[in-house]
């Protein structure tokens, strides 16, 4: 069952047939999914934005301005971050949104970010943190429990904030927590980096897709689920043109990283939602080798998660599905003997402690 935002992202011209009420719904859905600037970009690309009334197009234009500003700020912040890493002779490896935007990939067009994610070798994480703290970055306030959680069980350190600019930096030493199944050897990523600008690296095209899928299917909350699938769609349409061996190596790379289950889900749902062109049989090929025997159950859950967080898009049992996925993500992240006390503690903090939970604050994001 398709929804408005999905239809218009794929076929921008259809926007001209919408009435005002539908246009309002479209913009609401796009904002909720953090895809307003991406939508604006799609409409601009097909030159249909100029045919909309200015009462509507001003919102699209505004989203593009926000995206453009983020891009400028990103370029500046990256320069500063690079200087810090240079000082300890470590390479700058960008992940996710920052990588897409700085590498000027199509997936970065209209992409909005809330923070900058970087990857550093696990063995240097302490040095890296010290170097940033020496150069004007500091850990925001988090309570002791969350601090311990980050240090012991997470694949990143508590987010750093630049004192002068307010930029948030997430420093990762892996793409999944050490307690997760599978346990990923993050050194594998460093063997295949791509230098997109002098001294600035991203994961390889294949690893970028695999990381995006992994992030998505291990994530417990789906505010950005649809946006992440849109990212995958954009990458899967773009990367084969950059690397003729892209498809051939994708599945085996995922197997090497033990992330084929995530890739399988990623490919199949991206195709399902956005009609992404995939080579014949690749989904089955990934799927056969995966342990995913629960496809109908997963379809039930994810078809609900990958809709904008908006009442008009809600299918029956959405809350149940999101609840199950939340628990699933934690089960993937840590064994039960760690998980149960953790979830109990989170619930307690959410109910009774002011700093236990806060929406949309990158410094207090759900862990």
């Amino acid at each position: 069952m398709s929804f408005l935002l999905q239809r218009i992202l794929l076929e921008p011209r259809l926007v001209l047939e919408l009435n005002n009420e539908q246009l309002n719904q479209l913009l609401s859905q796009a904002r909720s999914a953090r895809l307003l600037a991406s939508l604006a970009h799609q409409l601009q690309h097909e030159a249909v934005d100029s045919q909309l009334s200015t009462t509507v197009s001003r919102h699209l234009q505004s989203a593009i301005l926000i995206h453009e500003k983020q891009k400028k700020d990103l370029a500046y912040d990256i320069e500063k971050i690079k200087l810090v890493l240079d000082s300890i002779s470590e390479r700058l490896v960008l992940l996710k949104g920052a990588a897409y935007m700085l590498a000027e990939l199509p997936v970065g067009r209209g992409r909005l970010i809330t923070d900058i994610d970087i990857l550093v070798p696990q063995q240097r994480i302490d040095e890296v943190e010290k170097a940033f703290k020496k150069n004007g970055w500091k850990s925001g306030y988090i309570n002791n429990y969350n601090e311990r959680y980050y240090r012991n069980w997470s694949h990143e350190i508590p987010p750093l904030t630049n004192g002068a600019r307010g930029t948030t930096l997430d420093v990762h030493h892996n793409i999944l927590p050490p307690t997760a199944r599978p346990n990923i050897n993050s050194n594998l990523f460093f063997d295949r980096l791509i230098e997109v600008k002098p001294g600035i690296f991203t994961l390889s095209w294949q690893d970028m897709v695999i990381h995006s899928a992994t992030h998505l299917f291990h994530e417990g909350e789906f505010h950005h689920g649809l946006r992440d699938l849109w990212d995958m769609d954009r990458m899967l349409r773009d990367f084969p043109g950059r690397d003729p061996q892209f498809w051939e190596g994708l599945v085996s790379r995922a197997q090497e990283l033990e992330l084929q289950v995530s890739l399988f889900h990623g490919l199949s749902y991206t195709q399902q939602l956005f009609g992404t062109p995939l080579p014949e049989g690749i989904v089955e090929h990934t799927g056969n080798r995966s342990k995913s025997l629960h496809k109908p159950v997963m379809d039930f859950l994810f078809s609900r998660a990958f809709r904008p967080d908006h009442p008009q898009c809600k299918l029956p049992y959405t809350d149940l599905a999101l609840g199950i996925l939340y628990v699933r993500s934690h089960l993937l992240r840590m064994p039960l003997y760690l998980l149960l006390p953790h979830l109990a503690r989170k619930a307690w903090m959410r109910l009774f402690e002011a700093d236990g939970h806060s929406h949309e604050s990158p410094k207090n994001k759900e862990i």
């Binding site: 009435n19 005002n20 009420e21 246009l23 309002n24 609401s28 904002r31 909720s32 009334s53 009462t55 509507v56 001003r58 919102h59 234009q61 505004s62 301005l65 926000i66 453009e68 500003k69 400028k72 967080d309 908006h310 009442p311 806060s358 929406h359 949309e360």
Partner: protein, 306 residues
């Protein structure tokens, strides 16, 4: 053209509860929803003369302030929703009205960028339109309310929206937010002031909103030409003065008090330059509101030449 006060009470309440109350505010339409009686009372009082949009019109901002769920009811909390999602934490239900107004400000602060938005009050009378930027506590809302009660048209007490590269102000008239002592100051300034619900113990103390559309043309959407920029500052122990201010300083201060000067990048600079070059700038230091109003009334006609 239908005004909110033309709706029958039951119709109004039903529309507000079900989220079918599209209110025209300057160039925008807010669709407002609430199931809280205090919010209904506030809107009925403060938005009585606002225009209701037609069913087929494009809604810019869907806002709501509601109890949602049993837990929130038990804790007597409410949530502000934008596009049906909550960007903020729940707040005490008795502060709901103030949060609705803040939320409505937030919609424009965060989502509108077709104008250069200054954090400023703006008023007009005759062919004069004055922008009054100020940090919180500078007394811009108090002065704005007093001017509104003295025959000036209130264009906004929060966002002075300037069409880039011009001096055109786009009116965005909504209730004036008054805090703490200024509520009593305005009540004693004029018995004509009409207030909405009082929200106590907010992060800004006691807050009450004053009906802002006191002139017949308050809801005209036609732009006005800014003629002056006045920087008000309430100071109990300083001599009162209205004095010309250098354009260069004014530029920096107005840019600092802008919501999107930096977001607009070069366009922001050019827009601010076009504005500042064509308005006269003044400092207004005051502690007596009557004096401040007459000082604004008597602003010199001649360009100050700075």
């Amino acid at each position: 053209m239908r005004l909110l006060r033309h709706l029958a009470t039951d119709d109004f309440k039903q529309r507000l509860a079900s989220g079918e109350l599209p209110i025209r505010v300057g160039p925008y339409i807010y669709n407002v929803q609430s199931n809280l009686p205090t919010v209904a009372a506030g809107i009925a009082t403060l938005y009585a003369d606002f225009r209701i949009a037609e069913p087929g019109d494009f809604v810019d901002y869907n806002v709501a302030i509601v109890h949602s769920g049993l837990l929130q009811r038990m804790q007597s909390k409410a949530k502000f929703l934008f596009d049906k999602r909550s960007p903020f934490n729940a707040i005490p239900a008795e502060q709901a009205y103030a949060f609705l107004e803040w939320g409505m400000n937030w919609c424009v602060s965060v989502h509108a960028n077709e104008y250069l938005k200054l954090h400023a009050a703006a008023v007009s009378r005759g062919d004069r339109a004055i922008i009054m930027p100020g940090i919180p506590g500078a007394g811009k809302s108090t002065l704005c309310a007093a001017l509104g009660l003295s025959g000036w048209r209130i264009l906004s007490d929060e966002h002075a929206m300037i069409r880039p590269y011009t001096t055109q102000i786009i009116p965005l008239c909504r209730p004036v937010s008054l805090k703490n002592e200024s509520i009593a100051v305005i009540k004693s300034f004029s018995s004509d002031a009409i207030f909405g619900p009082v929200s106590k113990e907010t992060h800004k103390g006691v807050v009450a909103h004053m009906k802002a559309d006191l002139q017949a043309d308050c809801h005209d959407t036609q732009h006005l030409q800014a003629s002056e920029m006045v920087f008000p500052r309430y100071a109990r122990d300083e001599p009162q003065r209205l004095s010309p201010r250098r354009r260069t300083d004014s530029f920096i201060l107005a840019a600092y008090h802008s919501f999107n000067y930096s977001l607009l990048c070069e366009a922001g600079f050019e827009a601010m330059k076009a504005l500042i070059e064509n308005v006269d700038c003044f400092d207004l230091v005051y502690h007596d509101l009557d004096w401040a109003v007459s000082a604004v009334n008597e602003l010199p006609d001649r360009p100050s030449g700075l």
